[in-house]
Amino acid sequence: MKRWILCLGLIFATVSTRCAGAQPGSELRFCIPSDPRTWNPLLVEDDASETIRYLTGGVLVRLNRQTQQLEPELATAWKVSRAGNAISFTLRRNVRFSDGSAFTARDVAYTIAQLMDPALHSPTGDAFRAAPGKVITRIADPYQITILFPAPVVGLAKLFDQVAILSATSPEHERAVLGPYQLADYRGGSFVLLRRNPNYWKHDSAGRPLPYIQSVRLDIEQNRDIELLRLLRGEIDLIGSLSPESYDRLSAKAPGMAVDAGVSLDSEQMWFNQAPSAPIAEYKKAWFRSTNFRRAVSESIHRDDIIRIVFHGHARPAVSWISPANRAWFDSKLAPHAFDRSEALRLLAHDGFTLVNGVLHDRAGHAVEFSLVTNAGNTPRERMAAMIQQDLAAIGIRVHVVTLDFSSLIERITRSLNYEACLLGLVNDDLDPNAQMNVWLSSGENHQWNPGEKKPATAWEAEIDRLMRAQAASLDAKKRKQDVDRVQEIVWKQEPFIYLVDKDALMAVSPNLHNVSPVALRPQVYWNIDWLWLSNSGSRRP
């Protein structure tokens, strides 16, 4: 009997504990790096505003960051037309904005009108602009809407993950939200406080309203060291992105808090300036245009050393322009370029380069040297540059590392083109290859090694143009994958970008935060905010 009473007691205690986590009064705290630049979800560009949008905005469909599949939210069903230029949504009924106004197809139509208004200059809307022309919305009834675009938009449904629905009628405008939280308080330079949206439509299987966490406090903190210190003191509950040093420091002090969610979408790469108009010596341009030269440089860089020393093991050798974290699009047949100095020297010899007294010379007798620019203050990049400098010195290439403030660097690589090689990273949030059309089309402004080509400078660039356009125009998923795989192969062979590493997604999570499933895609920790709950938040320091 005593045993039964004990068991019942334990069960009761367990249930009480789980429920306690879902009790109102719990507050999740974490830091954002700056004040949000906008409260309008259609104008979001910066990280802080993106965080607010994710936590407050209601969307028609949501990309599950774990499965990388779309899931219904405010739309219970959706269908993209065969031509790819229209999408129909069936909307969820009995949903209300935070101010109590009803959600209908009118709100969706209003949001689309705002999104596509050229006067608004919405960065979110840019993704939908496949061709000039008007976007038309057709409301069949209050819960059925069709949106017609002037041209097919590839990956159309996924784009709606970023579109927070605005109220067409609320006097509160964008402060009336459909997401799990609403703005409660904001002190510039100090914090943003979000409170649970009382009208949020989601409930758990037991009928309890979601989200479990009553409020979210976003402290504005630029200093990453202080952010880590605050986590260790128990003042905040999570850090969405950690540097490898911070991760190791945290692992040593509180191993349970440090999380490596595996490879992310973010990569680091270098490239040579091949633009004909670049104000650099012609013989250098000839080196940079040589596939053998680029491949020799690539194969002389010891990526494993970079990973071990700069990223403390929390990165992978990069393969091509799509990270393995992007499960749907990564070409798993490709392998990272091996470190092979003798092969590099063989490739260089093939192009007429000779190594004389430890210095590499081209056919005309020019000693091979170039400058490598990167942004000042980015310690990992500066370390990578120093390692590349030593690696290339081993094959007789002299590299001058130059660190520039970011705006000067951008001016050089986008406008004056007055640089020889550049080392930078790519922060990628979009899984669809179309997000990088501007990089891979030879006419693209972000076709960094030779921006804005009038016609493709090489046969392989022409092939990439053809393949990227073909996949962008195709609605056949298998065909698109084949085309994108082929582009990855070409990039792997030609190396216009020398991909160095794909960084791991490192983060920190307090043991008080439950139901966390960290992932590589942003927002890595709170992507399932509805289901998170906190224990012991009452014992937190003020």
């Binding site: 040093e245 050393d305 020393i309 400058s371 370390r383 120093a386 001058h400 640089y419």
Partner: protein, 268 residues
């Protein structure tokens, strides 16, 4: 006080000698990366351990000291010469010329130095060796650091211009050039010397600040600025007190300069 000065001088001489002898004393090249030993603790092989790329910290400190200690006085000399020429000419000419030059000096003083340095640095050619890059950095410092000293020099020359000995020289028929070279410059020497000594630690610290911004001396060349960057992240110092070696050396060197300078002023 004399003892303090002697100690300071001996310390400065020892630091300078050690840095000059870096080629023989340093156990490794400042650029060599011992990649199997990154962030190593001090050992017989690496007296101050290795940095995050596995480079010997002691060697980098020696070479970095050489760069900072050689180039900071060179930049100080340049700025002192500019200050002497500009401030001296304004003070000697007087009238509207002095007003205009001093207004220009005030304008120069009000410029945001750091941003100016960042902008000028960004406009320079990229394909230069680290040695040229460090020389450019210090030339920039020298060219931009004259304004405050020029005001002091101008005030001194103005007071000399109205003094009895200059009046007497003028009455004796001395021309402008003779007045300048025989009467004013010798009297300005202590002021210029003081300005020179004051500028050295200022330039060392400015280069250190630029280094912290990643805009000072180019990789792989070390300087005190680039060495101090290891202290950017404040965590983990208690476990690695040897990281403070460059900071300690900088503080001791700047303090020694101040002690020597103070004694010079007292003696003057």
């Amino acid at each position: 006080m004399k003892t303090m000065r002697a100690v300071a001088l001996v310390f400065l001489a020892a630091v300078l000698a050690a840095s000059m002898a870096a080629n023989w004393i340093a156990p490794a090249s400042y650029a060599r990366q011992f990649r199997d030993q990154p962030d190593a603790a001090p050992s017989a092989q690496h007296l101050l351990g290795t940095d995050d790329l596995g480079r010997d910290r002691f060697s980098r400190l020696l070479y970095g000291t050489r760069i900072s200690l050689l180039l900071a006085p060179a930049a100080a000399l340049m700025s002192t010469v500019l200050a002497g020429a500009i401030g001296g000419a304004a003070g000697f000419a007087g009238g509207w010329i002095e007003v205009c030059v001093m207004a220009g000096t005030d304008l120069f003083l009000s410029l945001p130095w750091l941003f100016l340095l960042i902008t000028v640095r960004a406009c320079l050619p990229l394909n230069v060796s680290p040695v040229v890059s460090v020389a450019i950095t210090f030339v920039l410092l020298g060219c931009l650091g004259w304004a405050a000293a020029a005001r002091v020099v101008c005030a001194d020359v103005r007071s000399f211009r109205n003094s009895d000995f200059v009046l007497l020289a003028r009455a004796s028929g001395a021309g402008g050039a003779r007045l300048l070279m025989r009467h004013l410059v010798p009297n300005l020497a202590p002021v210029l010397a003081a300005q020179f000594w004051i500028s050295i630690p200022v330039f060392i610290l400015t280069e250190a600040n630029l280094g912290i911004l990643g805009l000072g001396v180019a990789e792989p060349l070390p300087s005190w600025g680039s060495l101090l960057r290891e202290l950017e992240s404040f965590s983990g110092y208690s476990a690695q007190p040897w990281l403070f070696a460059p900071l300690l050396l900088l503080v001791l060197t700047v303090s020694s300069f101040q002690i020597v300078l103070h004694n010079e002023e007292v003696a003057g």
